[in-house]
């Protein structure tokens, strides 16, 4: 039976104001069990205050074969980084 449990991806938010981050995956029979398993496996040491789970099969991933087309064109568009602005002294921590 355990071999038939689907895999779930687990996302944990470590504190308010931050976003959920992928922390790993686990097996569970359904969403409810996935939340509880995530709580037991991934928040034992106070890692989080909120859990998302999503069945792995529902995630669509980009194909490594498309990496060149998807990501490389961004490499020479340095003007997209806000590094050319002169910041006024009053603005700190940008």
């Amino acid at each position: 039976m355990k071999n038939n449990w689907p895999i779930w991806e687990v996302f944990i938010r470590s504190k308010n104001g931050l976003s959920h981050k992928h922390v790993g995956s686990l097996h569970a029979a359904d969403a409810e069990m996935a939340i509880e398993n995530a709580r037991d496996v991934y928040t034992r040491r106070s890692e989080g205050i909120s859990i998302w789970v999503v069945e792995s099969k529902n995630i669509t991933a980009s194909s490594p074969a498309d990496a060149a087309a998807l990501f490389e064109p961004a490499a020479d568009k340095i003007y997209r980084h806000p590094t050319f602005y002169i910041l006024p002294d009053e603005v700190k921590h940008m």
Binding site: M1, N37, D40, V41, R44
Partner: protein
Amino acid sequence: MQSSLSPNHALFEFALFMGDNGLICGHRLSEWTGHGPALEQDIAITNISLDLIGQATSWLNLAGEVEGKGRSADDLAYFRSDRQYRNFLLTEQPNGDWAMTIVRQFLFDCFHFEMLQALLNSQDERVVAIAAKSIKEVVYHLRYNSEWMIRLGDGTVESHRRMQRALKEQWRFLGELYEDQELDQVLAESGISVLPSSLKQAAFSRMRGVLKEATLKEPAAVTDFKGSGRKGIHSEHLGHLLAVMQSVQRAYPGQEW
């Protein structure tokens, strides 16, 4: 009701009772470590085990403090014999299969939750403090075990059959949980605790709700079964459990690492 028990001695006995339930349940669940039906459940059941052993430490420390003879939680855990243990018969029953363990823990959780809820209003602030810390953990235990009750009860033909068998097996031990003893009268009168019988209705209504959802049949009440773990009259299983749990301290008293 006149009683020869002083409130202080009653509190000592009560703290042992609460501590022993947690310790014995916790030890039983620790036996699943490395043997859980799936890695995730192995970790989950071990977490619950650690919760219960942690709670037992608090209760047994309180018992030692109330007794005033300098005994620590470890002394009480490792150097008492089965006749001096106050846990319910239910808690010492062997793990059996997953169904047997889940049913045992669920029946205990229903009692445990109601008792801790009542203890939040205790006149003794040490009792309130332990209850307040424990109840958050026990809410989760109850949720976890309720879900397994429903999942397996309302699962396959085989899982249903095993759950019904486990329920019949463990139901025999339920009487003791809600039976008032002389000790409880003293505790209730001094506002330390409440009569276990006062918890019965809420606990049973919760149990019946889960049984219904799990499509499990409530077994007939067993009334001619009157062993009493609380009085130290245990089943044959506790001695074996203690032999394992206490072996290191019995062989090397005071040993630490």
